[in-house]
């Protein structure tokens, strides 16, 4: 077990290091921050001074060496845009994204398992067809388009919820509802497929012959065995959400890590980009570890 975790951590650390190197050099190719933050008529001395202050004057390799040695002391550098430690900014944004992702995935998982199981119980029936088609439509919809249409209908037209921003509980409804749709469509399909396989197995027939209620058969006997592929997909979808739902966060003005990422990339705020990548990569690593542990909880035959 410990060996398994250690091996995984080493592999992830290597990937993370390669990633930081790639992002460090590639992000500097997007242009000079001095050209962006200073007015057009700024003199060359002012630009030079700006670069000096933010350590952008030295050759890129020297900058990289300094960044790595700072990083070794857990110093992620300062944001150019906000003149604050980049790590603080990222953690604040990540907390928002984490809440959004957790709530959305909890709702998606619960709803998809119930609907997918019921669809599989009478495979080919009317309910199954309705569930399949509607989940396919959900999986096909571009989320930003759904977001725009939802704003027009529910915020502008009906006036039920605010259009964007944060503050009250009502602000959470639309982003969560829009983010819900695509993972839900995908996971319903996977649950349905896995449940059809599980329900046609011998132990379900035995349980049925013994007179176990169908509810108990679906949700106790079959579901546990159908969960393995489902958890894999849930993990993939949760990882996508943790990376920040860039478009949805932008449309709804949600201060999450996805919006922070796109803003920082466009504003050439390199330290924030790097810190955001490292924080989300760590979170996804931890989540994948939890998923591996969930595998062995669900299926004792899997040992790491």
């Amino acid at each position: 077990m410990h060996r398994f975790i250690r091996q995984r951590a080493i592999a992830s650390l290597i990937s993370l290091m390669l990633l930081v190197v790639a992002v460090f050099f590639l992000s500097r190719l997007t242009g000079d921050p001095a050209a962006l933050y200073l007015p057009v008529e700024a003199s060359e001395e002012m630009r030079q001074q700006f670069r000096e202050v933010h350590g952008l004057n030295d050759p890129v390799l020297v900058q990289f060496g300094r960044y790595v040695s700072d990083l070794a002391q857990l110093n992620f550098g300062d944001s150019i845009r906000k003149a604050r430690p980049a790590f603080e900014i990222v953690i604040e944004a990540f907390w928002w994204t984490l809440q959004l992702a957790l709530i959305t995935m909890a709702l998606v998982t619960a709803a998809a398992i119930v609907l997918g199981s019921l669809a599989a119980f009478r495979a080919g029936g009317l309910f199954d067809r309705l569930a399949t088609v509607s989940s396919l439509i959900g999986a096909s919809a571009p989320d930003f388009w759904v977001a725009i249409v939802a704003i027009v209908v529910f915020s502008v037209g009906l006036g039920w919820v605010p259009t964007s921003g944060t503050g009250t509980l009502a602000h959470w409804i639309l982003p969560i509802a829009v983010l819900f749709i695509r993972p839900f469509g995908l996971i319903v399909q996977v649950v349905r497929g896995a449940m059809i396989t599980a329900l046609s197995s011998a132990y379900v027939k035995t349980a049925r012959a013994k007179g176990v209620k169908s509810q108990a058969i679906i949700f106790v006997h079959a579901l546990r065995n159908a969960m393995l592929p489902v958890i894999t997909v849930i993990g993939d979808q949760a990882a996508a959400l943790l990376n920040g739902a860039v478009v949805i966060e932008t449309i709804f003005g949600f201060p999450g890590v996805g919006k922070l990422m796109i803003d920082s990339i466009l504003q050439r705020d390199f330290n924030v980009v790097l810190a955001a990548i490292m924080v989300t990569a760590m979170a996804i690593f931890l989540m994948n570890l939890l998923i591996d542990l969930a595998y062995s909880l669900l299926d004792p035959r899997i040992r790491h």
Binding site: S15, L16, L26, T30, V149, V156, I284
Partner: protein, 307 residues
């Protein structure tokens, strides 16, 4: 008198697939719709480019379903009075080119790398897999911005960005399948008979992996379309005056409350196309799988008996 049962010859593959497609009406509709989009993307710009470019300031944000103006205005007009129907048709070419190019590029590169990673030694495989990990966790937005700044915005560059980000999908699938297939008897037999590695990989292993890859590619086509429209929507994809469906949604966003149709129709075009791809992909999963195929063939023969 003995009755001789004539066992009909196995029908040709094309006819068999046509029958299986006929058996699944959803997949049939999806295939027909995709054919239509394909034809539109091919000849649409040539037919309607002039109409899609011509500004008409008196018809700004003209509402849809106004029969008096002529069929091309049926979906309304955009903020410069250009007919939306013509623009959607013209934009389909860019949208489809980007998606098809990205899927083709990532599928070919990913499959070749996956074949190598699965068949070659452990060390090569490990290096390739770490590379895939890095690509997977690399923010595609940053990649898009970097390419946009260095190479400039163009259809080809967007294809490159999207292709790179989708390589790991094919790589991982191919590698996993190859690791299993290489242990099978026919591969061992080919090896014993002295077949070279390239021959084994491309003649013996690849045909077995191909159905899975085709299914994934169809599904991924939908994903890439959504990704392209998201990038164009954020302003780091295709730049005007070029148009794609995603860009049309973005351009209509500021007129949301007064002219919903500007964003609505291109979004509907995206949904219908991706939905068709999803339906076709789930049909392919069954039709290309020899152990599942009977489900569709049964239904096809049942249809024949019924009037």
């Amino acid at each position: 008198m003995t009755q001789i049962d004539v066992i009909p010859d196995e029908p040709k593959a094309l006819i068999r697939f046509a029958r299986m497609l006929w058996a699944d009406k959803f997949a049939l509709a999806a295939a027909l719709f995709l054919c239509l989009i394909f034809v539109l993307a091919l000849i649409g710009p040539w037919l309607l480019d002039a109409a899609a470019q011509k500004q008409n300031l008196r018809g700004r944000n003209a509402p849809p379903f106004d029969w008096e103006r002529g069929w091309i205005w049926i979906l309304g007009a955009d903020a410069l009075g250009r007919p939306l129907l013509a623009r959607i048709v013209v934009a389909s070419q860019n949208t489809m080119t980007v998606a098809a190019g990205a899927v083709l590029g990532s599928a070919v590169i990913g499959t070749v790398l996956g074949l190598v990673a699965g068949y070659a030694g452990k060390r090569t495989g490990l290096v390739i897999m770490r590379l895939a990990d890095v690509i997977m966790s690399f923010p595609s937005l940053l990649l898009a911005v970097v390419v946009l700044y260095i190479l400039g915005p163009s259809v080809l560059n967007l294809v490159v960005v999207l292709a790179i980000t989708r390589i790991p999908v094919y790589l991982r699938t191919t590698r996993a399948e190859v690791m299993e297939i290489r242990e099978r008897m026919f591969v061992q037999a080919a090896k014993v008979m002295g077949a070279s590695s390239p021959r084994i990989i491309f003649r013996h292993i690849l045909p077995v992996v191909l159905p899975t890859l085709m299914t994934i590619a169809t599904l991924d086509f939908a994903f890439v379309m959504l990704a392209e429209s998201a990038l164009s929507f954020l302003g780091i994809g295709i730049q005007p005056p070029e148009i794609t469906w995603g860009l049309m949604i973005a351009q209509g966003r500021q007129y949301l409350t007064t002219a919903w149709w500007l964003s609505f129709w291109p979004g509907l075009a995206i949904i219908l196309t991706t939905l068709s791809l999803n339906l076709l992909s789930s049909w392919m999963r069954i039709a290309l799988d020899p152990t599942q195929r009977w489900r569709l063939e049964m239904r096809a023969s049942k249809n024949e008996v019924k009037p």
